[in-house]
């Protein structure tokens, strides 16, 4: 769900870098040798942004796929065959990702596919998979338009599309006692397919419930002038402030709010606060206090297999918390795995897709289920920064902190 953006010249840049970097194969992990007698390994291809602007989340996604590969091979593989993940680098470029998936299918003849990172790259990549009738489970790409094309092999392995990301937060605010419930709200947002729909989803619920919209604006990705926006927000003085951000703009906006000296009672921001210490270093630890955000996964969450995922991750990549993107990628592979196990064959991937469409799959993100378009039908977790740490506060059964800080001390 995290993305950093690029501008037009980066396209050429990425293409050149890609030419230099090429695809990198990743050999099969260890594992039992009991299945050596069975046929050749199942090759699973993915193209990820290992270089370019999305390289950090792209590399994290690769780690997620690698952890899954190791765990499944340690358990004896898939359908008794070893699994080998083949990763190509699309350099965060839309044209390269299309070329990569075509090459994976036609030249490298992989048996199955896994998705890439970001709505921007999944949009064209999923078309290649659909044309080739290959199952395509993607870990990060929740823009609503991805699911508006009637594709039959595409599934998004997170809890909800962008427009439903803020549902749980909206329910929380609307469920507050009447005397605490905000009466006014402001909605500044980046004009972005992943930020704006989140705010629109929340705004519709708020407006229906009588929370007045006192300020609403959009800004372009290249915008660096957040002082004016913060100033306008201060003048509108909303009780609840919702900001549609990716990362840099989220940090800039919080800084600008500090500069104009405005502290809303409730502050919800998309994406940026889920960047752990990158966020707290950007805005200053004390300014994170009380900030809400939506997130798909948490290292402490008690979902089935989550502890084992974190443990294997640490054994492969050293101590430290896996990135959310690694967990999302792992979950995408889990969805594919569940379908293959249930159907018992990978030859007809439309069958695999049909199975997923009618079943719920348990993943480390929790149970996931989908509608006929491949859009997930669950709910995001709601996180909140408390005492310099990010905690899950909603829904209650997944919460890592039982308290919710109501007054935003920082922003």
């Amino acid at each position: 769900m995290r993305r950093l953006r690029w501008v037009a010249p980066a396209l050429a840049a990425a293409a050149m870098l890609a030419a230099g970097c090429g695809g990198s194969d990743n050999g099969g992990g260890g594992g039992s040798s009991s299945n050596q007698a069975s046929s050749k390994p199942i090759n699973i291809g993915a193209s990820l942004p290992l270089t370019g602007d999305f390289s950090e989340p792209g590399k994290a996604a690769r780690q997620g796929y690698q952890v899954w590969q190791k765990m499944i091979n340690d358990q004896g593989g898939l359908l008794g065959r070893k699994v080998r993940i083949v990763v190509r680098d699309d350099a965060s470029d839309q044209n390269t990702v299309v070329a990569d998936y075509n090459a994976l299918i036609s030249r490298q003849k992989v048996d199955m596919l896994l998705g890439t990172f970001s709505s921007l790259l999944n949009l064209p990549a999923s078309t290649v998979a659909e044309r080739n009738r290959k199952l395509y489970v993607e870990p990060a790409g929740g823009a609503p338009e991805i699911f508006s094309r009637g594709y039959k092999h595409l599934f998004f392995a997170q809890q909800a599309t962008a427009d439903h990301q803020g549902d749980v937060f909206a329910q929380y605010i609307l469920g507050l006692p009447a005397n605490q419930r905000p009466k006014t709200a402001a909605y500044p947002s980046l004009d972005d397919p992943f930020a704006l729909p989140v705010l629109d989803g929340i705004r519709q619920k708020f407006e229906k419930a009588g929370i007045k919209t006192v300020y609403r604006t959009k800004y372009a990705n290249e915008n660096t002038n957040f002082d004016s926006i913060a100033n306008a927000v201060k003048a509108a003085n909303p009780d609840v402030l919702l900001h549609g951000a990716t990362f840099g703009d989220g940090v800039n906006f919080v800084r600008a709010l500090n500069k104009v000296g405005f502290t809303p009672k409730y502050f919800f921001q998309t994406s940026a606060p889920s960047f752990a210490d990158q966020y707290s270093k950007g805005v200053g630890v004390k300014n994170t206090e009380g900030t809400f955000y939506a997130v798909s996964w948490d290292a402490k969450a008690k979902t089935p297999g989550n502890a084992e995922f974190v443990k294997t991750f640490n054994s492969m990549f050293g101590a430290g918390e896996p990135a959310e993107d690694a967990a999302d990628a792992f979950a995408a592979a889990q969805v594919m795995q569940a379908a293959v196990k249930a159907v018992g064959s990978i030859s007809d991937q439309t069958k695999l897709a049909n199975w997923i469409r009618t079943h719920s799959v348990n993943t480390i993100l929790g149970p996931l289920k989908w509608d006929k378009t491949g859009a997930p039908q669950g709910q995001f977790l709601i996180g909140q920064w408390q005492g310099g740490k990010s905690q899950i506060v909603l829904p209650k059964d997944a919460a890592t902190s039982q308290t919710i800080v109501e007054k935003n001390a920082g922003a």
């Binding site: 950090e56 372009a220 915008n223």
Partner: protein, 294 residues
């Protein structure tokens, strides 16, 4: 009224910083006919250097300019001697290609060294403001603007009061004539390029304080800076300053009175209108045909 004054002051403060960032770009073009597309990448490199010094020593990031400026000067010198000098005889378009390639390489190297994650420099004043009546003046912008003015004045004094500075200006106006009066135009070119790159030392330190940055951030800056020097007149230092202030105020007024969505577009509309009436830019001497297409 407060709103208008606030918008203009914020615009001027950021415009001052833009002016510093654009000064090196326009200087290099004016003297050498080189369009340095890597200028934004140099700024981000200086921001990363500032970040490393700040995290290692805790010294105020604006003070690190004393280190980043000579470091960038040396970097510019090496770069000129190693790469740019080879395309001196080629048309300006060749310099665009070469410096774009440099920007890409630098972006990749910065990613390897510092990682493709967002970095932020937070001196104690990063999110504080001075308040004057109902106006707020963000401290980081005020300090950044003061430093920018200081560096620009120093640059101006150097160009007008020293022999080397006058040689640089002479080479810009008339290379043949400069050569005739004993100016070593080749050496002047090296110095000019190095000085142009050195200005990114201060510019990068200020950017690092004002905004979080990552290796890819340079695209954001180079497009804006090219806009500024086209508006001011390519090669003109006063033009770059006026252009930068106009763009700064234009962005701020647009965000306040129209919509933040248009801030990135309207400055270019202004440039478009200015160039319709005055193709050489506000203070440019003439339009060079080889640059017109850029």
């Amino acid at each position: 009224m407060t709103k208008l004054v606030e918008a203009i002051i914020l615009g001027l403060l950021i415009g001052g910083v833009y002016a510093l960032m654009a000064s090196g770009l326009t200087l290099i073009f004016g003297v050498m006919n080189v369009i340095n597309v890597a200028h934004g990448a140099f700024l981000i490199l200086a921001a990363f250097l500032t970040y490393s010094i700040w995290t290692a020593t805790g010294v105020d990031p604006l003070v690190t300019i004393a280190i980043t400026t000579p470091a960038m000067f040396g970097f510019g010198w090496l770069l000129y001697s190693g790469a740019i000098v080879r395309i001196r005889a080629a048309p300006a378009a060749a310099s665009v290609l070469l410096t774009f390639a440099l920007a890409l390489v630098l972006e990749g190297v910065m990613g390897l060294v510092w990682g493709n994650t967002s970095h932020a420099i937070r001196p104690p004043y990063f999110n504080q403001s001075f308040t004057v009546g109902e106006l707020f003046l963000p401290k980081a912008q005020v300090y950044g603007c003061i430093v920018a003015i200081g560096v620009l004045v120093a640059l101006w004094m150097f160009l007008t009061r020293t022999w080397t500075g006058r040689a640089i200006r002479a080479s810009a106006v008339n290379p043949q004539g400069a050569r005739l009066v004993g100016v070593n135009v080749a050496a002047v070119a090296t110095t000019t390029f190095a000085i142009g790159v050195a200005t990114t030392g201060a510019g990068g330190s200020i950017i690092g304080v004002l905004y979080p940055f990552l290796p890819g951030s340079h695209y954001l800056w180079i497009s804006r800076l090219l806009g500024i020097i086209v508006l001011g007149g390519m090669g003109s230092l006063p033009g770059a300053i006026v252009g930068a202030l106009l763009i700064g105020v234009g962005e701020s007024l647009t965000a306040t009175y129209i919509s933040p969505q248009w801030t990135t577009a309207v400055p270019y509309v202004v440039i478009f209108l200015v160039l319709l009436g005055r193709p050489q830019g506000l203070m440019g001497a003439r339009l060079r045909e080889d640059v017109a297409a850029v």
